[in-house]
């Protein structure tokens, strides 16, 4: 078991290496792929190192990254502040759900991106336009999954709490919200995934800094190597953020990550 796992990891790394070699071979000087369309790996690496220190279109790479993170985390966090309580409340008080859900269902099928032009018209091209688009993109998973989290709490647990003398408020706070935590962690990941992907598009359309802004400018300036740096950074940051959220499950909901029963 342990050995086959090591083998898997080794094979995985080998595959990555193989692809880098293929990439380098295809883009070698005089190779079949012109570097204008796809730059060589060493060019991309050199550009990455350079962008880390020297500004590109206004800021260094770390500052572009921070600009993107600021928007995405603000929008995602605000969506959590609205989506979690509203979702839980809608699942708990069905009248509230009956009132709010139809409107929500009406807005849901519209791709979050379609709101960009509207927010730009309403709020200008400042941060608030992008934050609100990210907010809309993250709100749907937050709200839906918070509702699902409440619905998935076993009715038996509610009965048990009642027989132990808990009132509705106590049940909601202690049983429902806590039991729902693992689902909320999953919701956080989904919401962040949506938010991140929407942010990139928003930055392409209206921004003065950020990774999407770097990408679209690089494309116009035909800096393909910069474009690839931006794309890789977008991917890696996305993986890191969802990974971090996964880790929080260990201390937010330790019971949900325990091994099987001992018997």
């Amino acid at each position: 078991m342990g050995q086959s796992r090591t083998l898997q990891v080794a094979a995985g790394l080998g595959a990555i290496l193989a692809w880098i070699i293929i990439w380098a071979w295809l883009t070698r000087p005089g190779g079949p792929v012109p570097t204008l369309y796809f730059p060589a790996p060493d060019d991309v690496w050199a550009k990455f190192v350079r962008m880390w220190q020297r500004p590109y279109i206004g800021s260094t790479l770390p500052n572009h990254i921070l600009a993107s993170l600021y928007i995405v985390l603000t929008g995602w966090g605000l969506a959590a502040l609205v989506g979690i309580p509203l979702g839980i409340a809608m699942a708990w008080w069905k009248k509230l759900k009956w009132i709010v859900f139809p409107t929500f269902q009406l807005i849901r099928p519209v791709p979050p991106l379609a709101w960009i032009p509207l927010t730009i018209l309403w709020l200008g091209i400042g941060d608030s336009a992008r934050i609100s688009v990210v907010f809309i993109a993250a709100l749907v998973p937050w709200l839906m999954n918070s509702m699902l989290a409440v619905y998935s709490v076993d009715r038996l647990l509610l009965d048990a709490a009642k027989t132990l003398g808990a009132n509705d408020r106590q049940i909601l706070a202690r049983v429902v919200c806590r039991t729902a935590l693992p689902t909320l962690v999953a919701a956080a990941r989904m919401a962040l995934g949506n938010a991140w992907s929407t942010l990139v598009a928003a930055e392409i359309l209206a921004a003065t800094a950020g990774l999407g802004y770097v990408a679209v400018n690089a494309s116009q300036l035909l800096d393909t190597d910069v474009l690839l740096v931006a794309m890789f950074m977008i991917g890696i940051l996305g993986i890191c953020m969802t990974g971090l959220i996964g880790l929080t499950q260990n201390w937010l909901a330790p019971w949900s990550v325990l091994g099987a029963r001992r018997d």
């Binding site: 009965d159 132990l164 003398g165 019971w255």
Partner: protein, 278 residues
């Protein structure tokens, strides 16, 4: 209510039988869905549980035993009839009537300690008192080593011990148990049956206990209520002797007692009639 089998228990030796009904289910009927069109689960059942009495309800599965218990606990309202505690309407569920469920119903997000303290915290018991009662209960149920474990880390038997501890720590006036050992393996079940028997003997809890096991009923009950198949009615109420040897020994020995065998045969006959009749 029909009475069967002469009272072998001498009522005078046990003051509890003379006491007023602690819990009374009076003419309970329960329909799920519209009356006449939905599921008729329970039909006109009356059961009296006197203080310190251990009443066992047996019946074929699906006959409405659990329904009767959820009504008794106040978790469901009966379609007809009423639930009385000490002669007064019982109202909504609360810690005077603690419940042990077949599927444990432990809060997965809380440790053993937190689960057991749950009800105490809900009802505003002081922290010192919580701790004292917790420690006592952990000791009684043999859970000291698992205080910080989560339910998912425990075996089924241990989980049910926690659930029982969580109910007992409330010092309930009435204990309702719905097939508490139904989900356990035979060995664990035997041990827990003996422990519940011992607890009742020592502390004189008032218990309404539901099971589909005739043997369990005879071993634990002061009185056994046999229900018909759905819609569940009361078929027969059988008084069992209280202070005979089998009530103090372990279940293996009890099961060899001639009287035990006689009661088991009689009750099984009644239950079998309900299962095989169409």
């Amino acid at each position: 209510m029909e009475q069967s089998v002469g009272k072998m228990a001498s009522g005078s030796t046990n003051p509890a039988t003379e006491a007023p009904a602690k819990l009374e289910l009076r003419n309970i009927s329960k329909w799920f869905g519209p009356v006449g069109d939905g599921v008729h689960a329970v039909d006109d059942c009356s059961i009296e549980v006197k203080k310190g009495e251990f009443i066992v309800v047996v019946g074929p599965s699906g006959c409405g035993k659990s329904t009767l218990m959820t009504v008794g606990a106040g978790l469901e309202n009966p379609t007809q009839g009423e639930v009385l505690v000490d002669g007064k309407p019982a109202g909504s569920p609360g810690p005077t009537r603690s419940v042990v469920f077949q599927k444990f119903a432990l809060f997965p997000s809380e440790t053993v300690e937190q689960n057991i303290k749950f009800g105490l915290q809900m009802t505003g018991v002081s922290a010192a008192e919580q701790e004292a009662r917790l420690v006592e209960q952990l000791k009684i149920m043999g859970l000291e080593l698992f205080r910080k474990s989560y339910p998912s880390e425990l075996s089924g038997g241990m989980q049910q011990r926690v659930a029982i501890a969580r109910a007992l720590v409330m010092q309930p006036e009435i204990l309702l148990m719905d097939e508490p050992f139904g989900a356990l393996d035979a060995q664990t079940r035997t041990i827990l049956q003996e422990e519940v028997q011992r607890l009742h003997r020592e502390k004189h809890y008032t218990v309404l206990f539901i099971t589909h096991s005739v043997e369990e009923a005879v071993y634990l009950g002061d009185r056994v209520v046999v229900m018909t198949k759905r819609p569940g009615r009361i078929k027969r109420v059988i008084d069992l002797p209280r202070d005979v040897i089998w009530k103090t020994g372990d279940i293996e020995l009890a099961a060899e007692h001639p009287e035990f065998i006689e009661f088991r045969r009689e009750i099984w006959g009644l239950v079998r009639e309900e299962i095989v009749s169409i």
